[in-house]
């Protein structure tokens, strides 16, 4: 009953009325617990670092999402039989299409990687390639949503939001979950029923947006107030907070208003911190060159990769960077060459750079698309969608390097050995972070929800 809820206890009221009380205290309001949540520890700040369930091997995640579904048989899943049988009849009277790219073994581990990734191939011994991924649907929107949230049907929190909810973040002047230049679809970095503060903060316009200048793409908008000093702005924000807090008290339960209150506090601190983190001019020339920052082809993705590293260094928990245009129904060869030339060097540089800073060991780097492509051709030089078998790779953060895990059939149609479903993959990511996917739950609408729903097994075979 109402009178039993702590809302009406004096301590709560004091908290609400104190305009200068700690950051984020509202997410802990007794009323959100109606909705709501199991806490980890007693800290009032919902973003404060929280102890994991057990000692993890990764402290943070850099997730490189490749929109459009990169072809696995042309990149990380070597299929000699497909090459041999190219031109033969396949399903539905289409013809098998061998990869136009040559695969070679690399590193001590001898991982086969196609000629599309000459730079990355040098890091073969760091890569943990999963060849046996599968997901539920071969449609971009649903599969993209499932990759990010585990569920394509309902609005559920994204894995970045779950991670932040589980671990908090180490820098309270930056959002704990940042997605750089995301494509459309806020659900993919959304927090759904988790408190709004766990939502990903998008920064920068779409990376491939050619309709705005480079400066406009990079600029962090509205980061300075032209007329108020920091102190005066603090006075203002205390006032805004008092108005919002009063509204929240009136509304009793209103997570969006909590989100607004917290986003103001975060924004206030971001004004100092963010421009500095996002300013790449102080990177030494050697680092800029390593990533290919000033090259026309690699420049845009190099930007994102360096920023990701800087954000990781600054203590951001979950960083997503994005690259698009992988939907090669046609022009597979030219399209892949272009895309891979854009990302190959920057990714290799990122791994190198993290390693030099001794951060690769506790940073989980992920490269993945929403599904793979058919071994048979489409439109001559293209491939159709394939959700039954595809590849992704991870590196650092406690996964085994130089490993090729699982397998598809001879042509690459279906995962057949050590199959890894999206739920398994999510469970494994959380595991490296020290979170048990079965225990990372949030109570909403009368039941406990989790990233993996009622599924998911940690893929033990890839852990180091």
């Amino acid at each position: 009953m109402m009178k039993n809820t702590p809302l009406f206890q004096p301590s709560r009221r004091q908290v609400l009325q104190s305009a200068s009380s700690g950051f984020g205290y509202l997410a802990f309001s007794a009323l959100s617990s109606l909705a709501t949540q199991k806490s980890f520890g007693s800290n009032l700040n919902p973003l404060a670092p929280k102890a994991p369930h057990f000692a993890g091997t990764a402290k943070r995640v850099i997730f490189m999402a490749m929109q459009g579904a990169p072809s696995h048989v042309d990149t990380f899943d070597y299929k000699p039989q497909l090459t041999k049988d190219t031109g033969q009849d396949a399903k539905g009277y289409a013809k098998l299409l061998g990869s136009p790219f040559e695969f070679k073994q690399h590193g001590q581990s001898g991982l086969p990687i196609s000629s599309l990734f000459p730079h990355l191939a040098k890091h073969a011994d760091d890569l943990c390639i999963i060849n046996s991924m599968h997901t539920d649907l071969p449609n971009h929107p649903q599969a993209t949503t499932q990759m990010h949230t585990g569920n394509f049907q309902f609005v559920r929190p994204s894995m970045g939001a779950w991670t932040l909810y589980g671990l908090g973040t180490e820098n309270d002047s930056l959002p704990g979950f940042i997605t750089l230049s995301p494509p459309n679809g806020a659900q993919n970095y959304g927090s759904a029923f988790l408190p709004a503060i766990y939502q990903g903060t998008p920064i920068g316009k779409q990376a491939r947006n050619r309709f705005v200048s480079q400066e406009a793409r990079d600029a962090v908008q509205n980061i300075r107030n032209p007329q108020l000093s920091k102190e005066l702005q603090r006075v203002q924000l205390d006032y805004v907070k008092s108005l919002n807090t009063e509204k929240l008290a009136r509304d009793q339960y209103h997570p969006d208003v909590e989100g607004i209150i917290e986003s103001y506090e975060l924004a206030f601190r971001m004004q100092d911190e963010l421009p500095e983190v996002m300013n790449l001019s102080d990177e030494p020339a050697s680092v800029q060159a390593l990533y290919g920052l000033n090259d026309r082809t690699t420049g845009a993705f190099a930007q994102q990769c360096i920023k990701a590293r800087r954000l990781a260094e600054a203590g951001v928990r979950f960083i997503q960077i994005n690259h698009g245009n992988w939907d090669h129904h046609r022009n597979l060869k030219g399209g892949l060459e272009q895309n891979c030339a854009e990302i190959d060097q920057p990714i290799a540089a990122l791994l190198e750079d993290l390693k030099q800073r001794d951060m690769l060991k506790d940073t989980l780097v992920i490269w993945a698309g929403e599904f793979g492509r058919t071994p048979h051709g489409q439109n001559g030089n293209g491939r159709d969608h394939n959700n039954k078998g595809y590849s992704l790779w991870m590196a650092g953060g406690g996964v085994q390097g130089g490993l090729r895990y699982g397998a598809t059939d001879d042509y690459g149609y279906q995962a057949i050995e050590n199959k890894v479903h999206i739920h398994d993959w999510h469970a494994t990511i959380l595991h490296t972070l020290g979170l048990d996917h079965k225990n990372l739950t949030y109570q909403y609408a009368g039941r406990d929800f989790r990233l993996t729903d009622v599924h998911g097994d940690v893929v033990k075979g890839i852990l180091s």
Partner: protein
């Protein structure tokens, strides 16, 4: 399970050009064969086969000209021969040496009479008697895997029945039939509806829902008074006033523009502007204001050009309506003309079926729909309709855009749009164009010479310059064509026309344009939805009119349901079916199935009147509930499926921006002529048209802001404006720090805060408490609570102390404090949330 599976078998034949069936393998007349044999074949053998025949030395550019099929399908650059279409026929472009990047034969130009033979041949439809043995391999076939009769069992394909009005309800609560359905569910689930919202909350809700604007303090005051005297009467009067105001059309029109994925540029890589798209925007707004029956509205958007018109004005209106099908995203740099055509048609099918039927028919392009009973043959039945129509979207011709089309001249008397261009400017442009042309000719000559002398490097260098010249000429051409001799803009519109010879489409196996089945699917609709009044499509029409007739048939189980569900979501924040654009099996089921049916039937009874249906909904008891929180109810139904209270809703981006302008007295309620995109004119976003040119600041309502794809204005984009590349029935809501930064630091908000402060002090001369009270009224439609008053006073005091410490002069400090106070209200949560 033994179910009936109709099987269509299509024997594999060759590539058959689908767009123009005249070019198929067919009996040629004696004359045609002779023309080919005498004029064309010898020329091909002599000038082309060396590099473009299987028997030749080596095949270049992937192009074979020794068979009919490969000539049509073309090589790497696209189809070599497109029957009837000189512009699309790369072979013709090459032999005329118009484009230095593609000059064939490379070493010499053909004689003029040979060129004109090719011209005549293509214009004849490229009759070609050459035949080739069919390829080895299995026949291409399409097998329908879907049982349509079984599919009809799904709720959404069953006709809405007029349900009985439930009587097991709270008799003291219900006002309208709508309330009976809601109340019945309350009873079933043990829920008590929230009390009525107070008068201020209600007028604010009505105002934003029906006009997208906050009520003025005077309106709030008089409503509260009237409400106290006679609540129902006060509400009815206010609703009528709001529905009659021109702002209603702007509000509901904007909702529809989300569904119509309205934008003023082509998007994707090339992103050419659509300077005439705004006519569709105005058409939509006017249609809602005129309360045009929804079935008529649908009819006009799909087939307006085919409807009879009583007047020139109506003819113009009908033409503009069909822009609906023309404003979609386009990959203008697609080299393959057939691919482009199919992508265009796909976008039209996708938008049409989702907008009106909440059905994702486009999933059936490459295979039978995986979840809904829609076979590929349904998709291609509709594809035939759109393929038999011509989509006119304009755009400037350029090397990266060989897809530019004409526009439709509107009858005299149509609004001429954006301002007059000074004659001098146009004359100047003519001169510029002439100079460009002259330079281009020189460059072309120089390139030819360079190539002949083997200086490939120089030729490549020149190519860039040539491209630039060609593009500038293309843009100049389009601009010059848009103005009459006196510098007045010509009234032009995007839109649709029927092709002179309509045809049925083949099925493309796996959606591959070069992989068609032999047989064609008769033009038609989605079979799972059958209506008894379907009109047959005759051989000489595209079928758009019949498609529109089938969609708007009162028997169509989807159209009315889908539309009332949209209206419901525009008023409640959620639909009765929550997956607004998907009534298929992967969508949500209705929370109140009988209410949905009741509303659908009611809409048709009301002759598809939007305003009347809205009027009934917003005068219901259900709409009137407060949003008060209740713990036990929340535990039972946190997402408010059963409507036990009003949803707390964030204002959409437009309403937030319009409100900021409104409270500062800056809002201009006029409708601008055209849009900033039409002022910028034809061109390419990010190339000759820059962001600041399009997105310069205005004080018009947000619905009139320029919407170029990829360049949505910041004020809208930050607050979850719908992606204009895709149809969108529901916007997302995010709460992120970049919104806070916008409210704290953006020039737009600061400017409006300043204007609001100046309005309060200078214009209406308020001071002290009165000023604070009026500011709250403006922003929240209510006076401040005692707590808020107290904190406002404390804020001003504290602000002045700190300002003094910082050495600000007292007068300046006061002004800044006042401005910052106004800004704080605009930035606060209540400003952007409806209770």
């Amino acid at each position: 399970m033994n179910v009936f599976r109709p099987v269509f078998l299509y024997a594999f034949l060759f590539w058959c050009p689908l767009l123009l069936p005249a070019a198929e393998k067919r009996e040629l007349s004696q004359e045609e064969t002779e023309f080919f044999e005498k004029k064309i074949r010898p020329a091909l053998v002599k000038h082309c086969y060396k590099c473009h025949a299987e028997e030749g030395d080596k095949v270049k550019g992937g192009l074979l000209l020794d068979t009919r099929e490969t000539s049509l399908s073309g090589g790497d650059s696209g189809p070599a021969v497109v029957p009837f279409d000189l512009n699309e026929s790369l072979l013709y472009l090459a032999i005329t040496y118009e484009d230095s990047s593609l000059e064939m034969p490379p070493k010499y130009k053909l004689e003029e009479d040979v060129i004109s033979d090719f011209k005549q041949w293509i214009e004849m439809g490229a009759p070609d008697p050459r035949d080739r043995q069919p390829k080895e391999g299995a026949p291409q076939e399409y097998t329908n895997t879907i049982d349509i009769d079984e599919g009809r069992q799904f709720w959404a394909y069953q006709a809405p029945h007029n349900p009985e009005i439930p009587e097991q309800v709270d008799a003291n609560w219900v006002l309208q039939p709508i309330d009976h359905f809601v109340s019945q569910q309350h009873r079933e689930k043990g829920l008590t509806p929230a009390a009525d919202a107070d008068a201020r909350t209600l007028i604010r809700r009505l105002s934003f829902d029906l006009t997208g604007l906050p009520p003025s303090s005077a309106v709030v005051g008089s409503f509260v008074e009237a409400h106290n005297a006679d609540r129902d009467h006060a509400i009815a009067t206010a609703v009528k006033r709001l529905l009659d105001s021109p702002q209603f059309g702007e509000r509901f029109g904007r909702h529809w523009l989300d569904v119509a994925r309205y934008a003023e540029s082509s998007g994707k890589e090339v992103n050419a502007t659509f300077p005439h798209a705004w006519r569709y925007r105005d058409y939509v707004i006017d249609s809602f204001n005129a309360d045009k029956p929804f079935d008529q509205f649908v009819l006009e958007q799909i087939a307006g050009d085919l409807l009879p018109a009583n007047s020139a004005a109506q003819e113009a209106e009908h033409t503009v309506a069909t822009s609906f099908l023309a404003i979609g995203t386009k990959g203008l740099n697609e080299q393959n003309a057939r691919q482009f055509r199919f992508d265009l048609v796909d976008e039209q099918i996708d938008t049409t079926t989702q907008a009106f039927l909440a059905t994702t028919a486009a999933c059936a392009r490459c295979h039978d729909h995986k979840f809904d009973p829609i076979p590929m043959s349904d998709y291609y039945a509709m594809a035939g309709i759109f393929l038999s129509s011509e989509t006119l979207f304009g755009t400037a011709e350029a090397l990266q855009n060989r897809k530019a089309t004409d526009l439709i001249p509107l009858p005299a008397g149509a609004h001429s749009g954006t301002g007059v261009k000074p004659l001098a400017e146009l004359i100047d442009l003519e001169f510029q164009k002439a100079t460009l042309q002259e330079n281009l000719d020189k460059l072309l000559t120089e390139t030819r010479e360079a190539r002949r002398s083997g200086d490939g490097e120089r030729a490549t260098e020149l190519r860039l310059q040539i491209l630039r010249h060609q593009n500038q000429i293309g843009i100049a051409d389009r601009i010059l064509a848009s103005y009459d001799d006196d510098g007045y803009p010509k009234p032009l519109s995007m839109g649709m026309k029927d092709l002179s010879s309509p045809f049925d489409s083949q099925i493309l196996i796996r959606g591959e344009e070069d992989n068609p089945t032999d047989e064609r699917v008769p033009r038609g609709f989605i079979q799972v939805v059958k209506t008894s009044d379907e009109e047959p499509i005759s051989a000489d029409e595209s079928g758009r009119l019949q498609l529109a007739g089938w969609i708007t048939s009162p028997e169509n189980p989807l159209t009315a349901r889908v539309y009332v569900n949209r209206i419901w979501s525009w008023l409640f924040g959620e639909g009765i079916v929550r997956s607004i654009d998907n009534f298929g099996s992967t969508g949500d089921e209705p929370t109140h199935p009988e209410l949905l049916d009741y509303l659908a039937v009611r809409l048709i009874e009301l002759d598809w009147s939007t305003k009347q249906l809205v009027q009934e909904i917003v005068t219901s008891r259900t709409y009137r509930m407060s949003s008060a929180f209740r713990e036990d109810h929340f535990e039972k139904d946190p997402e408010n499926h059963s409507l036990w209270r009003a949803n707390k809703r964030r204002l959409d981006a437009e309403a937030i921006r319009d409100s900021a302008l409104a409270v500062s007295g800056q809002l201009n309620l006029e409708r601008p002529a055209g849009s900033l995109v039409s002022e910028a004119g034809d061109g390419f976003v990010g190339r000759n048209i820059q962001e600041d040119e399009i997105n310069s600041e205005t004080t018009y309502r947000s619905v009139y802001l320029p919407i170029a794809r990829g360049l949505v204005p910041e004020s809208l984009g930050l607050f979850d404006f719908a992606d204009p590349s895709l149809l969108s029935g529901k916007r997302e809501i995010t709460t992120v720090p970049s919104q806070a930064l916008y409210m704290m630091n953006s020039p737009f908000i600061l400017k409006n805060a300043k204007a609001m402060a100046s309005y309060l002090t200078t214009d209406i001369g308020l001071r002290g408490e009165e000023l604070v009270s009026e500011a709250f009224y403006l922003c929240y439609s209510r006076p401040p609570t005692p707590g808020e008053s107290e904190r406002t006073t404390q804020f001003i005091e504290r602000f002045l102390i700190v300002a003094k410490e910082e050495g600000l002069p007292p007068l300046e400090a006061r002004l800044l404090a006042l401005t910052t106070f106004c800004q704080s209200l605009i930035g606060s949560a209540e400003f952007r949330y409806l209770n």
